[in-house]
């Protein structure tokens, strides 16, 4: 069975600073990877996804993520954080044969200092 670990529960960065949120997965075959963002009291919004191909994936709101098979990682990055990026971020993995289900990581709460 697949699993996802987001090692950082909370991260605080200053506005304008760069950001990297970590995601490590466990799965025996090629994973299907997602990053979602959740603002307080809202649903989850898809930021980006990796299914195959180029390992550097561009998403919405200036986010990107890089799939590194050797490190079983799919870290999310943004070069310059805006105050509106403060939210909860979830990494998720899907697997063929697991039905249509996603396995979510525990989430990382991002706070942005002015």
């Amino acid at each position: 069975a697949q699993s996802v670990t987001q090692p950082d529960i909370h991260i605080t960065v200053s506005e304008g600073a760069s950001l990297e949120l970590r995601c490590n997965y466990s799965y025996g075959a090629t994973p299907y990877l997602f990053w979602y963002v959740q603002s307080p009291g809202q649903g989850l919004q898809l930021l980006l996804k990796y299914f195959s191909g180029d390992t550097l994936v561009q998403g919405i709101k200036g986010f990107e993520a890089e799939f590194k098979r050797s490190q079983s990682s799919f870290n999310l990055r943004k070069p310059s954080v805006h105050w509106s990026d403060a939210a909860e971020y979830f990494c998720a993995v899907g697997a063929l044969g697991a039905g249509n289900m996603l396995t979510f990581g525990g989430g990382t709460r991002l706070m942005v200092k002015p």
Binding site: G41, G43, L44, A95, L96, G99, N100, L102, G106, G107
Partner: protein, 115 residues
């Protein structure tokens, strides 16, 4: 715009009083999901419909039921809500064949309070 809609956004019920949460979608997706999300936790899948086929997660309590009368609508029924059922309930949809991995699109959620 195509979207996933959840009503109501906020629901207050009393301990033991049945409650129904609603989800509709204009995406024409064949798969619909219900998740429970408690504070500061990841969403937890309760069940999903692949077309009309109902798939229950093994650890979903019997207190939770679901109906999908047509492609567009899906309902979550909580027969006797307990204090522990207070949570955000998220509906999601996806499109694709069974067994494939498809992107899930989420609604805004319904915040359930149990008094």
């Amino acid at each position: 715009d195509a979207m996933v809609i959840q009503n109501p956004r906020y629901q207050v019920t009393q301990f033991g009083k049945p409650v129904t949460l609603s989800c509709s979608q204009t995406l024409n997706h064949n798969v619909m999901y219900w998740y429970q999300q408690k504070s500061s936790q990841a969403p937890k899948l309760l069940f999903h419909y692949y077309d009309k086929d109902f798939n229950n997660e093994a650890d979903t309590p019997d207190n939770f039921q679901s109906r999908r009368p047509n492609t567009s609508f899906c309902f979550l029924d909580i027969r006797s809500p307990g204090l522990g059922d207070a949570a955000m309930y998220l509906c999601a949809t996806s499109s694709g064949p069974s067994g494939s991995v498809n992107t899930q699109y989420f609604g805004p959620g319904t915040r359930l309070t149990v008094l």
